[in-house]
Symmetry: none
Subunit: 190 residues, 4 copies
C-alpha cells in the first residue's frame, strides 16, 4: 500500500539491510536481491532509489562513516582535557554499533571496494584523515611528536578492527580494544 513519503523510509531500510547482509554473509558478494529481501522490498525498488548496486554500497558506507562521526563528536563533547579527548576518540572508534561483527565485516568490505572504486577510496580516506587529525589536535598540547603518534594510533585502531573481523570468539571486546589504544597513547606521550 503505497504511501507518500516512503522514499526516506525505504532508503534507510535498504542501507541498513545492506550493512547487515554484508555482515551476515561476510562479503561484497551480497546480491541486490538479498539486500532487497532483507529490507522487505523488491530489488527493482532498490534500483529505483539508488540507481545501481555500487551506489547503494556507497550509501551504506557513507552511513557507517556518518554514524562513526556522530559518535566521535558525541564522545568528544563530553571530554575536557586533552587526554580525555584522546580516550573519547578511542572509545568512539570501538563504541556503538561500530564494533559489531556486522559493521566490521562491512568495513572490511569497503576497504576492498575502495581498491577499485575511486569514490569509495575517497570516502575511506576522508575517514582516515579525520581520525588522524582528531588525534593530532588532541595530542598537540601533550607532545611535540603529535603527527607520528597519531598515525601510529590510527593504524593501531584499524589493525584492531581487522583482527577482530577474524576473531572466532563471540562478540568483539570493545573495552579491551579501547584500552589497548589508550595504553599506547599514554605510553607515547609520557
Amino acid at each position: 500500500m503505497p504511501r507518500v513519503g516512503m522514499m526516506a523510509i525505504r532508503k534507510d531500510a535498504l542501507v541498513n539491510a545492506t550493512i547487515s547482509e554484508i555482515g551476515r554473509r561476510g562479503s561484497l558478494d551480497v546480491t541486490m536481491g538479498q539486500i532487497a529481501k532483507a529490507a522487505g522490498v523488491s530489488s527493482a525498488l532498490a534500483h529505483h532509489y539508488f540507481g545501481s548496486k555500487d551506489h547503494l554500497l556507497l550509501a551504506a558506507m557513507r552511513a557507517i562513516l556518518v554514524e562513526f562521526g556522530a559518535a566521535a563528536r558525541a564522545e568528544l563533547a563530553r571530554a575536557s582535557t586533552p587526554m580525555e579527548r584522546l580516550t573519547a576518540i578511542a572509545t568512539a572508534s570501538f563504541g556503538g554499533r561500530n564494533f559489531c561483527p556486522d559493521v566490521i565485516s562491512a568495513w572490511l568490505t569497503f576497504y576492498v571496494m575502495a581498491q577499485r572504486d575511486p569514490q569509495a577510496a575517497r570516502l575511506l580516506r576522508v575517514y582516515q584523515q579525520r581520525l588522524v587529525s582528531n588525534l593530532i589536535h588532541s595530542l598537540r598540547p601533550l607532545t611535540n611528536d603529535a603527527p607520528r603518534i597519531a598515525a601510529t594510533a590510527a593504524a593501531l585502531i584499524d589493525g584492531l578492527y581487522i583482527r577482530h573481523a577474524l576473531a572466532d570468539a563471540g562478540p568483539p571486546d570493545a573495552e579491551a580494544a579501547t584500552r589497548r589504544v589508550t595504553d599506547y597513547l599514554e605510553l607515547a606521550i609520557r
Copy 2:
C-alpha cells in the same frame, strides 16, 4: 636430477598469477579466466589442478603465508639479541614481496574470504598466532608484559598494512612502516 613435472610448474604459475591478478585488479572478483590467461594456460587446466576456484585462492594464500614465514625465519636467523629479533620480525613483515601493492591487495582479499571460508580463516589465524608467538617469544626476556605488547604490535602491523592498501601515493614505504613498529616496541619495553 629429477625432472620437475609440468604439474609443479603449472601450479606455481597459477598461484603466482592468482596473486598478481588479485593485486592488479584489487579485488576478489578475479575470474578463473583472467588468472588462467595470466598464467598462460586454459582455465580448464586450472580446474584440473586445483579442483575449484576456492582451492586455488586458498593455495595462493598459503603461498603468501609460506613466503612470509620463510622471510621471517631468514631474518630471525641473522638476529642474536632479543631486540634484534623483534626488529627482524618487523622487517620481515614489510619486507620482500610482502609489502607490494599486489600482495597487500591479496591480503585484504583473503581477510574477506576468511569471513565465509573456514579454511581461509584458519589459515589466517595460524599466521596471526605465529606472528604473535614470535613476538612474545622475543619480548619475554625484555618485559613481563609480553603477551599484551605482542598483541598490540601485531595489530599495529596489520593496521599499517591496511592503511597502505588505501594509500594513493606510489609504492608503500616499507622502512617507515618497520620503524613505526620498532619505535612502538622500544617504547613499550622501556
Copy 3:
C-alpha cells in the same frame, strides 16, 4: 467557448512527446518513462490515458498520418491541373513537419512496429493506399499506365525517406526530394 479538458491537452502532449522522443533517440526503444517525462507528466498518467505503450505508439502514428493527410489535402486544394496535383502530392510528402529527422525516425520505427502489430500494419497500409490512389487519380488524365507509375512513384517517395533517415549531413533537403519525384513523374507521363 468549450473549455478543453485536461485530457485532450495531456493526450496531445503525450503524442507529441512520443514522436519527438522516438526521433531524438532514433529507435523504438523509447520508454514510457522518457515519453512521460518529456510530456511533463508521470508515466502512470500515460497509461491512464492510453492503456498501454502500444496504444500510445499507435496514437502517435495516427497523428503523423493525419497530419500528413491534412497537408496533402491542403496542397491539393490549391492545385487545378493534373500535373499541379501531382506536384502537390510530392510537396506534401516532404513538406511540413514530415521531413524532419524526428518524423523520419518515427516513420521508420512504425514500419518496424508494423512487422509485429497488425493494427500498425493496417494503419501504414491505409497511408500507402491513399498515397497510391491519390497519385493514380491525378495520373489518370495524363497516361493510361497510371497504376504502375503511381506504384513506382510511391516506392520512390518511401525510398527517399529511408535514405534520408541515414544521411549524416544536416537536415534533409525537402525541395531536392520533391524535385526528384516530380522529375520522375514528368518523365513517366511524357
Copy 4:
C-alpha cells in the same frame, strides 16, 4: 560433444539464426536467448563468440551486405553492355535470399539500428554508396545525368524493399520489383 573447429560453424549458425529470427519476429527485439535457441546453442555461447548482442547484430548485418555484394558481382560478371549491367544490379538487388521476408525485415531493422549505432550506420552507408557508384558507373556511357539518375534508382530500390516489408500478400515478387527499376532506368536514359 565438443569438437575442435566448431567456432566457424557456430558463428555461421548464430548469424543465420539472427537473421531468420529477426525476420520471423519482425523486430530488433529479438533476444539472445531466442537467437541462441534457434542456432541450437546456449545464449552463453553466443556471447562467448560475439561478445555482445550488438556485435552479433552487426555481424548479421555484415553477412547480409556481403551476400548482397557477392550476388551483385556475380550478376555483373555476366553482363557485357551498360544496359545489361544496370539490369544486373537491379536483379541482384532483389535476387537470391535478399528479397525474402526474413531479410527484408532484418534490413529494416538494421536501418533502425543505424539510428543509434554509428558502426551500423557506417555499414549501411557503405552499401548505399556502393550501390550508387555501381549505378553511376554503368550509367555513364548512356547519359550525362548519371549521378542524379543513379540516386533516384537507388532510392527506388530501397523504397521497393520497404514497401514489400509491409505487403501482406505472400512472398515478394522479385521480378516485378526488378522490372520496376529497369523500367525507370530505361525511361531515364532515353
